[in-house]
Symmetry: C2
Subunit: 365 residues, 2 copies
């Protein structure tokens, strides 16, 4: 098994920088689109362990990626709470019953995890399929939306440009916001722990919308609840440490606060200078990121140059350092699949030179 | 004349913190909607000096704002370059001739400023109208989009979620991007200088989209050209200094670099901690911002609390400090007009306590 990814999260010496891509199982791959057509809909794909397994493995068959990530949606938890998730074609997610009044918020409860059994079944199915890959077996990442990001969709009823309903509630009735977030934090913790029980070897919390909060509001309404989830997570499963990654798009200003949560790694979007980020966290956690996904629209030489620039920016690895190469956000559906090969191969080739400190070279053998 | 705003930009002692709001002449005001209906269209409004003057003054009749800002659009310059600007109802701006190939980019030229005469006429008209307000006369801010933000719309042909065409060009043909930006920088400088000649007493450069650039790319493709514009600006007009403000939404990570351009003030969005920002620029420039516009959806007590929190965060004024209160982005069309009164009055009332250092109190009298 290739455990370079897990060792990097735990800031142990590795021979090269591991790489995976947010949304690596996705619409840019023709084989994904074919499976999705068979499944009939996005949720048909996510709710079938067999299909979820199939699309999770597709990018691994094409690219030398160092991790797999469960194929699912971040809105499975509010769906299990009874909010009625649907995806209209080309429109993004919709909830039939958004949280728009006090009564609905007071009635909200942590869902029975049995309603999310299809997710845990998918985790088990994928782990089995991965283990059949022998030496090319890579770890499986489980994930959830952050309590705050789930609340955004739950209150707004879908995506939004300005999250006006959410912010009106947050500034007008913070007590009700905190009630939603309390419940979400408990639900997310149970959900991730069940994924860990089913075999997820690392977990990631996606705070897609935390970056639209004001300084201070981010801390009270997003980070506090991410921290609570982390505090409730199982740290080990079957004798192995289960590392955690947190990611807030647009959260670069709050990096020190995110590192202080105790997460093993913090994901960075492309606006963050990687060298400065490393200095700011003082190797107190691993860093994940942070190529602009748009670089993959460029010709091969430009991709190689930008990847090399980021590896150079993180710099020479030393005891306690850890970098997982990734994009700064999900891969675009318009990405040419060949671009991903160039990215992955460049990370593996170029990064070896940054992992050659004598003491770590010794531990590696 | 109330010149608290200009003195704050120059970091001179003032008795209270001045306040104005980005997009303060806008759709949240019923009187604006009435004038717009008379004008027939958004560009009909912007291209008529009389209408532009009328809507510029409307918020001053309602609120004790400390500055007026020219009513116009950031896309007037590319329109004058011949790209064919239009606004489809509810769809935002569109260019009939976006820059999608090398030939179009090579043909691009700095436009004849005579084509923008309607803007300079509006500036003159507004200055005259303001001067008739006597003691309640406030300074007029001129503005332009940044060279990079103009390029976003020019290449994309309109707004976009991902600016895919722009970023593809930027990473694939940086030489062509730089050609557009060279021309835009020269055009923006001429445009702002003509506004200054017409009577604009301060100028602001809006870099609405710079924050979607990767670290490094922001510096090469946005900040470099903003700096060039600043270097070409007239610093004085009729014996008075004309201060400059630069603003990049999502640019908080690059604050030190923005302050180092020599702009008199840097605008901040609401993700930035104001106390930390002040420490980072070490009173080397004034700061403008940075209330989350969504706070204005909340009840009066919440607005007062958030405004007070920001004033407290900037802290006690000292020789060399300068803060202009503003939102962290344009005011939302859904804002209740009463909320703005509360904001403005709270800034004026609460801020006096932060401007009472003995030496500045003396200079004020």
């Amino acid at each position: 098994m290739n455990d370079i990814f897990l060792r990097s999260l735990l800031r142990q010496p590795v021979p090269y920088t591991p790489v995976w891509l947010m949304r690596q199982a996705g619409r840019y791959l023709p084989e994904y689109r074919a499976t999705r057509a068979k499944a009939g809909s996005f949720m048909g794909l996510a709710q079938s362990p067999a299909y979820a397994c199939e699309v999770t493995l597709q990018p691994l068959d094409r690219y030398a990626l160092d991790a797999a990530i469960l194929f699912s949606d971040i809105l499975t938890v509010p769906d299990a709470m009874g909010l009625g998730l649907s995806f209209a074609e080309g429109e993004g997610p919709r909830f039939a019953h958004p949280l728009r009044d006090e009564a609905a918020i007071k009635a909200l409860q942590v869902p029975d995890m049995a309603r999310l059994q299809y997710v845990f079944d998918a985790v088990r199915t994928i782990r089995q399929a991965l283990s059949r890959r022998g030496e090319q077996c890579v770890p499986l990442i489980g994930f959830s939306g952050s309590p705050f990001t789930l609340a955004c969709y739950m209150v707004e009823g879908g995506g939004s440009d300005d999250y006006r309903h959410l912010k009106t509630l947050l500034y007008s009735r913070p007590d009700l916001m905190h009630r939603i977030l309390d419940i979400n934090a408990e639900a997310v913790a149970q959900y991730l722990n069940a994924q860990i029980d089913a075999g997820a070897q690392a977990v990631m919390i996606f705070d897609t919308w935390g970056g639209m909060l004001a300084d201070g509001a981010f801390h009270s309404f997003s980070l506090t609840y991410t921290r609570r989830v982390l505090s409730l997570l199982k740290r080990e499963h079957e004798g192995r440490r289960v590392p955690s990654i947190i990611f807030t798009k647009g959260g670069g200003l709050w990096l020190e606060d995110m590192a202080a949560t105790g997460a093993d790694a913090v994901g960075l979007d492309w606006t963050v200078n990687l060298a400065q980020a490393r200095a700011r966290v003082a190797d107190g956690c691993a860093l994940q990121g942070n190529l602009d996904p748009s670089v993959l629209f460029a010709p091969p030489e430009a991709i190689r140059a930008e990847v090399s620039r980021l590896l150079q920016s993180y710099g020479q690895h030393q005891p306690g350092s850890g970098h997982i190469f990734n994009l700064g956000h999900g891969i675009s559906q318009f990405t040419p699949p060949e671009s991903v090969s160039i990215l992955v191969d460049t990370v593996h080739e170029v990064s070896r030179a940054f992992h050659v400190a004598p003491e770590s070279a010794q531990q590696m053998t």
